[in-house]
């Protein structure tokens, strides 16, 4: 579905990522973990052409319109209601207003926001805004979903719940996902494959691990699986090798 080969990314003269190789197969959930500031986000920006790679190639088995990007923050259009925000992508794809609004309402309902369609973003809590942002992306039924630390700003309880909801969807729809995160537990819980990024500048992929935990998974129970503990330790060691503990927690 997605293949990133020998990609380097630079901001001006500063090379942040060098010779990145990673593959996400159709129907698989891949994570890219690395310390904050290692340039993980830039990979997703390059895939969605918000940024041009310095060198290397990015092959995508789907048009860009089939790629959903769930950003780290939940910036919604403040002058549009939750429903209008969710309907936006559908409207851009040429769906008539009534149909787009109906689809938007359905997705809001699926994410537990029934009856919130007429609220403006400032009338919603952080968790609710995040759900609207998820609905906005999922409503387009993307073939490939890119996520940039989407739950970092949420408190633990809301976070666990939303993660579970997303996991259910991904497993049911066999969605292809690339998640970028510094949260090792989140990466293991959700992924089939985990890529580990070394400390920047000039960060590169230093390891690849398969997560041998059967699906469907439950967020809370997955943590009790022995594979989870073993892999967590491995990842932790790999990251500690290349960075200080502080920046992992940051």
């Amino acid at each position: 579905m997605l293949s990133v080969r020998n990609v380097s990314l630079a901001y001006g003269a500063n090379t942040i990522l060098e010779a990145i190789d990673l593959t996400v197969e159709a129907g698989k959930f891949a994570s890219l973990i690395g310390p904050s500031g290692s340039g993980k986000t830039s990979i997703l920006r390059a895939v969605t052409e918000l940024m041009a790679p310095h060198q290397g190639t990015i092959d995508l088995d789907a048009p860009l319109t089939e790629v959903g990007f769930l950003f780290q923050d939940d910036a919604l259009l403040p002058w549009r209601t939750a429903r209008q925000n969710v309907a936006l992508g559908l409207r851009i794809r040429g769906e008539p207003q009534t149909a787009a609004n109906e689809t938007a309402e359905t997705w809001l309902g699926r994410l537990g926001l029934e009856g919130f369609g007429d609220r403006y973003p400032r009338q919603l809590s952080g968790g609710q805004r995040k759900r609207v942002a998820i609905a906005q992306v999922l409503a387009l039924q993307p073939k490939l979903l890119l996520m940039d630390e989407p739950f970092a700003s949420l408190d633990a309880i809301v976070r666990t719940r939303i993660t579970q909801e997303l996991l259910d969807w991904v497993e049911r729809e066999r969605m292809t996902v690339l998640l970028v995160t510094h949260d090792l537990e989140e990466a293991i819980t959700l992924s089939d494959v985990v890529y580990v990024l070394s400390q920047g500048p000039r960060a590169t992929v230093r390891a690849r691990h398969e997560v041998a935990i059967p699906r469907p998974r439950r967020v809370v129970e997955t943590r009790e699986n022995p594979v989870f503990a073993q892999l967590l330790k491995t990842l932790w060691n790999e990251l500690s090798d290349s960075t200080s503990v502080e920046s992992v927690n940051a």
Partner: protein, 253 residues
Amino acid sequence: MTVSLNRPAVRRAAAFAFLLLLWEGLSRLGVIDPFYLPPPTRVAAVLVTLFADGEIWPHLQATFTAALLGLIAGLVLGIVLGFAAALIPILAELLEPVMILLNAIPRVILAPLFVIWLGIDLASKVALALILVAVLIFFAVYSGIKEVDQRLVERVRTLGGGRAVLIREVYVPSVTTWVLGSLKVAVGFAFTGAVVGEFVASSRGLGYLLQFAQSTYNAALTLALIFLIMAFVLVLFAASEWLERWLLHWRYA
């Protein structure tokens, strides 16, 4: 309804009434010379006469027409130039220094030039109000677009939105908030332009009347006109606020 001193509006009205009473008393007792500061009752009487004999209407009409035309034309010109400069780099390169210069000088010094170019009638007043408003709005729009929330831009782009969608969904609404933020200042500027234009050369308008009152040392008429202009500007402020609440309802919802 009970009137309580706990509310700011009531306290302000009370303070205002007290000052008027003090002024009236001091003026009547001869502590302050009524030649320089006639008591409020006399100022009010002048106002009533102005309206009663209908003398004020053509002047009000002249000033209002100039201010409103200047305001509307200034808003349109400022918005168009601001958008154009933000979207077309070469235009920004040419416009920015001119606008910065116009912004730096007290633009009312252009009044005599407009009189020479456009005559002593309406056109020169509209032009002055327009230039005062347009420069203000230009910067509101231009910097508004440059400082648009880039996260929203990227979000709309990854949802598949092109330039047209970006302008409609992100730029126009952001710029609306910026322009509305400057609207009250613009209203004040439009009246400044109209009245100052009338000061410089005119045969009608509140500025013309003010000029006349000053040259005849008529303090009561001068004060009456000042209060009149204040009252009208306050009404337009209220209208701007209503417009803001209507257009930015998502902020107040």
